[in-house]
């Protein structure tokens, strides 16, 4: 604050009073957003780290050399498709089947990408390339929540730093846990059922998105159909179920709007 401005001010000058005066959340700078992104990601790591370690163990068991198992975590950086690929490679599937399966499993990331695109539109191309690389379930969940906050608490000019903080935190954890899995190898006991941490993490992320009837219906239809169609090849059932769930949500939304108009 310059002395000139202060002389024009109506009230008494307040030392560092800006944050207090604007109330709840001050417009955060890059550093604060970055650190907030890191912090938001931390509670998700206990679900990611065991998952990365199990991937490392399974990759070696499937006959993937340790160097490639590590490289896959940074080249692909998508847990569920790395698991599926490992499984299929171990079972001797053809290259085309492995790549197609990974593609189908990762289609959901395009939906995340669609949802963040309007927020990221003002950024430069290198930012877009980098953040797209870091776009995972876990980074999306906290970043989308941050942008939702922005809708109620005023514009966020540096929320892409939040995304970067969350994304890099997850990236580093994934690389380190994969490496731990590869080096520890078979020493991780099977009967710990550590693979269960993945669905638990998704439950923790998903349940808070159930805010009303349409979202609940979307979840029930998506989940139930995924069970019914679990036998379909290449995990196609997952994609069909997800699309059906989205349509069910839209349908319920429409019903509600119609009822609202009649009232």
């Amino acid at each position: 604050m310059t002395p000139d401005l202060r002389a024009e001010g109506e009230g008494p000058p307040i030392e560092g009073g800006e944050t207090k005066a604007t109330g709840i959340i001050p417009i955060a700078g890059p550093r604060r957003e970055f650190l907030a992104g890191v912090r938001a990601e931390l509670p998700l790591l206990p679900g990611v780290i065991p998952f990365g370690m199990i991937y490392g163990v399974l990759a070696l068991e499937a006959g993937i050399p340790s160097g490639l198992a590590l490289a896959m975590s940074s080249i692909v950086f998508a847990g569920s498709s790395q698991f599926a690929a490992t499984q299929l490679i171990g079972a001797g599937a053809s290259a085309a089947v492995v790549v197609a399966t990974a593609f189908i499993l990762n289609l959901r990331h395009s939906l995340y990408s669609f949802s963040l695109a309007p927020h990221l539109a003002p950024l430069s191309a290198p930012w877009k390339w980098l953040l797209s690389y870091l776009l995972t379930d876990e980074a999306y969940a906290v970043t989308a929540a941050r942008y939702r906050q922005g809708e109620t608490e005023g514009p966020l000019h540096h929320a892409h730093w939040f995304f970067l903080g969350a994304g890099l935190t997850l990236w580093a954890s994934w690389q380190l846990s994969t490496a731990a899995g590869v080096f520890l190898g078979a020493q991780v006991p099977r009967d710990w059922s550590l693979d269960f941490t993945l669905p638990l993490t998704f439950i923790g992320l998903g349940v808070p998105t159930l805010r009303d009837r349409p979202t609940l219906l979307a979840a029930l239809v998506g989940g139930t159909l995924a069970v019914v169609l679990a036998g379909l090849p290449y995990r196609l059932g997952l994609m069909v179920a997800a699309v059906a769930g989205i349509l069910a949500g839209l349908w319920a939304d429409r019903q509600r709007a119609d009822v609202g108009m009649r009232d």
């Binding site: 206990p46 690929a85 990974a102 939906l111 990408s113 797209s132 139930t224």
Partner: protein
């Protein structure tokens, strides 16, 4: 060599799926219908991943109290709903799975 090509292929399709909408979609935003649909993406996709993990056992669905993953998952869902805390959800869910598995011997 063949395995490296497979991994590069998976990396390429994964990145393409993630980058295309962000890169191609301008500031003008999405049609309202798509915006509404996006609201249902997380619940629909996450539950489509989670439900089979809880219910399927050896290739067929097991909807009974004998299924420790189902019970532990339901408990975790309750915790997530009440606390909105991912870490607590994880701790309670894993604890329940271990407890139930041990109890079943």
């Amino acid at each position: 060599m063949r395995l490296w090509l497979i991994v590069l292929g998976i990396g390429a399709v994964t990145y393409a799926v993630r980058v295309a909408p962000i890169l191609l979609l301008g500031r003008q935003g999405l049609p309202p219908l798509v915006v509404r649909a996006l609201r249902y993406v997380p619940p629909a996709v996450l539950s489509a991943i989670v439900f089979p993990e809880l219910v399927m056992s050896g290739g067929s669905p097991v909807l009974s109290l004998e299924n420790p993953r189902l019970l532990a998952g339901l408990l975790a869902g309750l915790i997530a709903w009440r606390t909105r805390n991912v870490f607590l959800t994880l701790i309670v869910g894993m604890g329940a799975l271990w407890g139930l598995t041990a109890a079943q011997g």
